[in-house]
Amino acid sequence: MANLNIVSALNQALDQELARDPRVMILGEDVGREGGVFRVTDGLQKKYGEERVVDTPLAESAIVGTALGLAVGGMLPVAEIQFEGFLALAMDQLCNQVARYRWRSRGRYGPALVVRVPWGGGIHAPEHHSDSPEAWFVHVPGLVVVMPATPYDAKGLLLAALRSGEPVLFCEPKRIYRALKDEVPEGDYTVPIGKARVARTGKDLTIVAWGAMLREALKAAEELAAENLGAEVIDLRTLSPMDSDAIVRSVRKTGRLVVVHEAPRTMGLAAEIAARVGEEALTSLLAPVERVTGFDAVMPLGKLEDRYLPDYRRVLAAARRTLAA
């Protein structure tokens, strides 16, 4: 066990998997000599060489598209896209090609690969460095979308992603890359993909969050606990395929639901979660589902981003509304 932040936990997972599985390779912009702009791949090129930790030319579509070919050819590529905003440049390769390749080849070439992408706001970065476009990808059949919220899950989910045999979009909440530490086992372990985690139990309402928003949800839950109100906090962890059963189970118990995400509200994941809860647990609901989200506006630059991003106070206000209903 070591006390690690998310960056170190991810680095350890990649290091161990590069050592364990000769098919594993890393490719992306500045992932080698530089060790990635967030240092997630720090030291790995030195240790495993330029053929396995590859600095590529600047071309997102090619990073994802050649990763697909590499996977079909028997490698296990971990592609890095430097910021989520640049993923739009690889949209065809990720959504039209990678996601459909198992289907298109009738199961012959189900591409096992991971696309790692720093995700979301909160670090006062330029435009296209702070967005939360996870809903774009959750809408695409065939893609697995994962977002850890803790160092323990970061390592365990990345190892699970690499061994899943599926194409996995691995979203890394950059705001909490170094903001929190966790006991992370040095050895090998995986965290199951497709399973949400109950981060805190409670009986009065359910709060669903993921990535950097989990912290806000937990802080709101703590405040509520001081008033003897029990919030059950669910860390979704895998956004697609979504573990809606875990959410439905919790709502059947609490009768109230708040969903928190950084992304804009309209057609965000909260809408889908609310719909699934409506389909399967409508009679358990004691109040309308509350959504605490980014606004349907362009993610602002640094000076205003704290006003755009949900924080625990907005979660708390939503929780109080649903508890009062």
Binding site: A62, T66, V72, G73, Q97, R102, S105, R108
Partner: protein, 365 residues
């Protein structure tokens, strides 16, 4: 030998077998006459297969189809691939896939809208058909890169057209191939049209082959209706790629004698005179003249070939038409390796049968 000899900047294509059937013996590749006969036979059947797909479409038995009529020599380049090489096709590579051992019935089924036609035979390194123009170039670089990393001697050939050469993915693929020196052979079938857009509006460059120089590897412009030039260029490109010399680019000048797809009306963008003129450069006609001049072909052999070819193609069409309908549950079969519980629930929502025939809307042509 050809890559060194021809400068793609000059715009003079490598030409060995002229349209009148005469051969430049000094340029002849390792492509003996018995091979030429064999290629003539397969290319003839290829053309019959293409025509059959058009007929099936007109009869309402096949959806939209992208014919390769006129491009048989280009497509025959696939016959130079080894079993361990990869082929990355676009949607116009029915001929190439046929030569690579994909049963014709499967190819018909694909175009009939039956996904089971997309399953490539075991052991054949064919990527599935790419419909997004140019996307497959990156996949070909990826599989070639994997071969290089694993120390496999082999190459990946990617097929695309003049239209695709304007796509960003083709640029990115050529750049990655150059930087990582992957054994990728880029085959651009320049058939003069991207649906309606003529080649001169696709790029201001004199040739597409000259682009290769910008990525640091050789490019070659050839007469794509000349099977000897195709053979020479392809054999050299594959040998050099397999030997670790990096990627190669071949622009095959050809002409799409048919429509872009069955939904296209080429009279809107080209004249009957132009079409008639282009038929003079037919890849099959000149090869036949060559073989006849050498006493290697006759009217009787032609009749026998056409009869046998028609039987082969008709049998494939029948097999495709008589295939049992696909299982609707297949919609869910290849989405994920392990389908999530909600997908299993959606599978149960499938209607027991389709809507009545009268309620069906005709597919957009």
């Amino acid at each position: 030998m050809y890559f060194d000899r021809c400068d793609p900047l000059k715009g003079e294509p490598l030409s060995i077998l002229a349209p009148d059937g005469s051969l430049r013996e000094d340029l002849r590749p390792n492509f003996p006459d018995d091979r030429a006969v064999e290629f003539y036979e397969r290319m003839t059947v290829m053309r019959l297969a293409d025509r059959m797909a058009m007929t099936m479409q007109r009869e309402g038995n096949l959806g939209t189809y992208a014919p390769f009529y006129g491009q048989e020599a280009c497509q025959a380049s696939a016959a130079f691939l080894q079993p361990g090489d990869w082929l990355a096709p676009s949607y116009r590579e029915t001929g190439a896939l046929f030569l690579r051992g994909v049963p014709l019935a499967n190819l018909y089924r694909y175009w009939m809208g039956d996904e089971r036609g997309m399953l490539m035979p075991e052991g054949l390194r064919n990527l599935p058909i790419a419909v997004v123009v140019g996307a497959q170039a990156l996949h070909a670089v990826g599989v070639a890169w994997a071969m290089k990393l694993k120390g496999e001697a082999g190459a990946a050939a990617v097929y695309f057209g003049d239209g695709a050469s304007s796509q960003g993915d083709v640029h990115e693929a050529m750049n990655f191939a150059g930087v990582f020196k992957t054994p990728t052979v880029f085959i651009c079938q320049n058939n003069q049209f991207a649906i309606s857009l003529p080649r001169r509006r696709q790029t201001a460059a004199a040739t597409i082959a000259q682009r290769a120089a910008g990525y640091g590897f050789p490019g070659l412009l050839i007469d794509g209706n000349d099977i000897f030039a195709v053979a020479g260029a392809m054999q050299e490109a594959l040998a050099e790629a397999r030997a670790g010399l990096g990627p190669r680019f071949i622009e095959m000048l050809t002409y799409r004698l048919g429509p872009h797809t069955t939904a296209d009306d080429p009279r809107k963008y080209r004249s009957d005179e132009e079409l008639a003129e282009q038929k003079r450069f037919d890849p099959l006609a000149r090869l036949r003249v060559y073989l006849e001049n050498r006493g290697l072909w006759s009217r009787e052999r032609q009749d026998r070939l056409e009869a046998a070819g028609r039987a082969e193609v008709e049998a494939a069409a029948r097999a495709a038409l008589e295939a049992p309908p696909p299982d609707p549950a297949d919609i869910f079969s290849y989405v994920y390796r392990r389908p999530p519980p909600y997908l299993e629930r959606q599978r149960k929502e499938l209607p027991a049968e389709g809507p009545p025939a009268a309620a069906r809307v005709a597919a957009p042509a």
